[in-house]
């Protein structure tokens, strides 16, 4: 069965891609892509205590989630972020905090043990947790992982939730850069994150694009972005698998994309 949704808001943070508003000229090739890296801004939506405690993956995720929701709210001020369902997807979660804890646990001299804040910040759903704390509402916020197929798994789940619950869903995909030594066994050359506010695909409603997806049996290779500078980023972070989708949306094209999902793949039809 085809899962259909309208895209109501987009957030983006990656090398040379500092927010969706600035990115279409780069994504369409109208402007050269200078793939420099920049740290995402501090998440001002968090209370001061939480902002101080938030790790790099949380900052990254909240930056794109907040931007996507703000964009969706421009078109539809009635959209209430505190009631918006959310699906966070990340291969590694807050890997830098996990790495730090593992170093402490391996150190026989670390008699004082681990910090309680670090421990609760190490859970995979730390970004989902801080997001819902920032919104102060009771809307569910899921958190899932599927290694190199996290983009497809997360998007499939977010689309299925949009359809099954007949409600808008925030989909936030992110992976921060891992520190050494974890960086040796899991490649993350740079931080990358994107977020989409997905809504039930009502006829006639304004949208930034439309997406239809079907899970299909059998492996398929990832459809790369058309631009070589974007295609060069795809292998550097599992979240960068979303670049072909973002490029298609920026170009206002109609395009079919395959995204691997373990032993099958997601067949996407993207349309303006």
């Amino acid at each position: 069965m085809m899962l259909r949704a309208a895209i109501r808001g987009i957030g983006l943070w990656g090398p040379g891609l500092f927010g969706w508003a600035e990115s279409p000229p780069v994504l369409t090739g109208a402007k050269p892509h200078d793939a420099d890296e920049r740290a995402p801004p501090a998440p001002l939506l968090l209370p001061a205590n939480e902002r101080r405690r938030a790790g790099p993956a949380v900052r990254l995720a909240l930056t794109v989630a907040e931007a996507a929701v703000a964009m969706a709210r421009e078109a539809d001020p009635a959209l209430d972020a505190a009631r918006l369902r959310a699906v966070f997807a990340s291969s590694n979660g807050e890997g830098a905090v996990v790495d730090d804890l593992l170093k402490t646990l391996a150190d026989p001299a670390a008699a004082l043990g681990v910090s309680p804040t670090q421990f609760h910040n190490s859970v995979h759903n730390v970004a989902a947790g801080y997001w819902s704390i920032a919104q102060g509402g009771q809307a569910p916020a899921d958190s899932l992982a599927a290694h190199d197929t996290t983009f497809a798994a997360g998007l499939l789940k977010a689309l299925a939730e949009t359809v099954a619950e007949a409600a808008p869903v925030l989909f936030c995909l992110f992976d921060a850069k891992l520190p050494f030594p974890l960086s040796r066994c899991r490649r993350t050359d740079f931080a990358f994150a994107m977020a989409l506010v997905l809504g039930p695909d009502a006829q006639g409603a304004a949208a930034l694009g439309h997406i239809a997806a079907r899970f299909e049996a059998g492996e398929a290779a990832l459809t790369p972005p058309r631009a070589p500078s974007l295609a060069a980023l795809v292998a550097g972070n599992p979240a960068a698998q979303s670049l072909a989708l973002l490029e298609t949306l920026a170009r206002g094209e109609r395009r079919r994309l395959a995204v691997p999902l373990v032993r099958g793949h997601l067949a996407l039809e993207v349309a303006p």
Binding site: L3, A111, G113, H124, Q138, A145, A146, T149, C185, R263
Partner: protein
């Protein structure tokens, strides 16, 4: 919101500190025999009691899957080979096709125990992890679902849900949505978490490990005991079974990363959401399996939520005094216990309770009750304020 069609539970299995299989679990609950024992570890991961599964170390994965060897996947493999679970999945795969069955598992730390060992074996000169450390097949969050999908020969969507201690409860919800949206016809749900230094030391740092075996709902409760477990259920659209998932509810606290909401707003929202989706009233629930970790704050907050939704009309207990808090596996452990309650009419009273907290308003069971019942609600709450409530019952 309209009621959801019930999803048949066509197979279930469980391995925990209570033993291997549904019969061993039922026998322990009936005899009120807990699985907690003193934690033999010393140092920052020491102290308190733990619910360990005996014999994991001796188990071996089939040679083609040997790369997945880690404590968490060994435990999952034991659960696959228990209660005829893998055979039931093979029958379902023949019926629906392997690509129409999802594998959606919850885990909070996956095979991180392997990562802990690798960090201890770092090269003293360079700090590099040992060459033979296979991150993707062990430590990685997704390793659990990838392993189970491969072991069962399935080809549908697979992913790991990791919402801390609500993980495997939320796996049911994700599966129900994928089935409702027509993506799959059946799903292997459940999950596992294994004892590791990370969680033992982390909960100790939070001051939440009880010195003795945990005693949820007791007036003098003083923390939790960590356990390990793996379990599964096979959920099928139009499946043939007397028992089903009737409803689910999910919510966030939106309050704090590790402290429950003072007014329990998230827990209340999750339970009401589950009742609505099951098209049931509060009085239709016959037993509540509490999240009931045994910490002062969790149990008090959950009691407030239960009292708000059910008053004192529904017998409720936590079974974590038996199994320990199995973290990301708690949802599936307590789902299988809910199924045992329904199948056998045995309502397990909480273990180790000398005196129920007099401030509690819910009806806390501290002794076993035998009576045939039709519907059970099970709660799971996790860090990040992630909540899941599941309703199981007769179809």
């Amino acid at each position: 919101m309209t009621a959801m069609p019930p999803l048949a539970i066509t197979a279930a299995s469980l391995v925990s500190a209570l033993g291997r299989g549904k019969a061993a679990t039922l026998a322990a609950l009936r005899a009120r025999r807990g699985g907690l024992a003193p934690n033999p570890a010393t140092g920052i991961a020491g102290g308190g009691f733990i619910g360990r599964v005996a014999g994991i170390e001796r188990h071996r994965l089939a040679p083609p899957l040997a790369a997945f060897t880690c404590r968490n996947n060994l435990l999952l493999d034991l659960a696959l080979a228990t209660d005829g679970f893998a055979d039931a999945v093979a029958h379902a795969a023949a019926r629906h096709g392997p690509a129409r069955i999802g594998v959606i598992l919850g885990t909070s730390t996956s095979g991180i125990a392997s990562g802990e060992d690798a960090y201890r074996a770092r090269d003293p000169a360079t700090g590099a992890l040992p060459e033979n450390f296979d991150f993707a097949h062990t430590h990685d969050f997704f390793s659990a679902a990838r392993f189970v999908q491969a072991a069962l020969g399935l080809a549908g969507p697979a992913f790991v849900v990791s919402t801390a201690c609500a993980s495997s409860a939320r796996a049911f919800i994700d599966a129900a949505q994928l089935i409702a949206a027509g993506v799959i016809d059946a799903a292997v749900v459940g999950g596992a978490d294994t004892l590791c230094r990370m969680t033992l030391a982390g909960f100790a740092a939070l001051g939440l490990i009880a010195p003795g075996p945990c005693r949820p709902a007791d007036a003098a409760r003083d923390g939790l005991s960590i356990g390990e477990a793996a379990g599964f259920m096979l959920l099928e659209r139009d499946g043939d079974s007397a028992f089903a998932l009737l409803g689910y509810g999910e919510s966030s606290d939106g309050h704090h990363m590790s402290a429950p909401h003072p007014e329990a707003l998230g827990a209340i929202a999750a339970m009401r959401d589950a009742l609505r989706r099951a098209d049931l009233a509060a009085d239709d629930i016959d037993y509540i399996n509490l999240h009931g970790t045994g910490t002062i704050a969790n149990d008090a907050s959950e009691d407030r939520a239960i009292a708000a939704v059910f008053g004192d009309r529904v017998p409720a207990s936590s079974t974590k005094g038996f199994t320990g808090h199995t973290l990301g596996a708690a949802g599936i452990v307590e789902a299988v216990i809910a199924l045992l309650v329904l199948e056998n009419g045995l309502l397990p009273g909480g273990l180790n309770i000398a005196r129920v907290d007099p401030a509690f308003r819910a009806q806390v069971l501290s002794a076993n009750l035998e009576r045939p019942i039709s519907r059970v609600l099970s709660n799971s709450f996790g860090f990040g304020g992630a909540n899941g409530s599941l309703i199981f019952g007769r179809q």
